[in-house]
């Protein structure tokens, strides 16, 4: 479906540009150069121009980029110009933590960008019906139907390692194409599905090398 033309590394940098643009929105000048954006993001100006050129022509030679225009364009490219509903599966320690975290400062940021944590799922009857940070916990058995009904398009996986693959497969079968996976497992991932891994244990272990 999507042409595999834009490298993932480029996509990963776009939200960073967006963040900086949001921070300085028309602070002083309504215009920003790739050099100034480079300063603020830590990305080289050339790379920023190259990244943007994958999607079109957004700047004016000799002038720079209009901040508000660039924001709109980046939002459009990232599909953040519409509401994106996010579901979280697995309300254990980590899942609950994520819900509470997302409840603070960062939820505002996410919501502003159209990312809404719409529902959480668990198999524990005790938890179902409860709300954490305003997010209702629903029965994981109904995940397929509810993905459709609630129009979820991103799933955060905070389930135990043992069930991660089967929950993942269920979500894929229900049309989910993007995942943020916290489970410490190697998932079998079909083509066309994007999974970002957030594996703290592996991260800490590799940090030990530099310590």
């Amino acid at each position: 479906m999507r042409k595999r033309k834009v490298p993932d590394v480029v996509i990963n940098r776009l939200p960073l540009y967006l963040r900086v643009l949001a921070e300085i929105d028309a602070e002083q000048s309504p215009i920003i150069s790739s050099f100034e954006l480079g300063e603020r993001t830590g990305i080289t100006p050339g790379q920023i121009r190259k990244d943007l050129s994958f999607f079109g022509v957004f700047g004016k030679q000799g002038v720079g980029y209009e901040i508000s225009t660039l924001r709109v364009e980046l939002c459009r490219i990232l599909h953040l110009d519409r509401v994106v509903n996010v579901g979280l599966v697995g309300v254990g320690k980590l899942g609950e933590a994520f819900l509470r975290y997302g409840a603070g400062r960062q939820r505002e940021v996410l919501n502003r960008e159209g990312l809404i944590i719409k529902a959480a799922f668990d198999q524990d009857q005790q938890k179902i019906g409860r709300r954490i940070a305003g997010v209702e916990i629903l029965p994981v058995e109904q995940l397929p139907e509810l993905i459709t009904q609630l129009r979820l398009s991103i799933i955060i996986l905070t389930v135990p390692a043992g069930v991660a693959q089967s929950v993942f497969d269920t979500c894929v079968a229900s049309g989910i194409k993007a995942f943020l996976n916290f489970a410490p497992v190697k998932l079998q991932i079909p083509a066309g599905i994007r999974v970002h891994h957030a594996d703290f244990t592996l991260q800490l272990e590799s940090l030990a090398y530099y310590s």
Copy 2:
């Protein structure tokens, strides 16, 4: 100090090898081939052999790698053959979440690898002295002394964006070389210091592209 010879991508893969080796430890055969390790990690056999070759010769031609030996060697390379003390700064929502998360299944895994979450730090007087999941909260003012006293060598940053840079600088000045940063900011990082970023907001935003 450390020769900038081994690429970071290689270091990041080593804990994955280690995890798989721990899972299957002498399950059946005491030997594993790069092909089987490749199956289980999702890394190509050739890349595994290349990665390992940065550090020495660990296998036997025509045979494979002795699992227990390889585990020991990988632990040694990653400095996980000794205790590595980890400190967490900023016991807000996210910091608390991380402490509680790390208290479960994953803490066992971390501890087995010698990674100990030794102390947490906050500036809120109310929180100081409390324990979360067995980890005591200490005054952030004493961070420099306590880094030395407690022999902390990795810091997890879960502070608000506004103070992340100054806390980071303090830690660097006290000799910390490895960080796991959850604050949504671009840190100014001196040479020789390693920072892994765990920025959920950016990750979710880039996922929206694929959704």
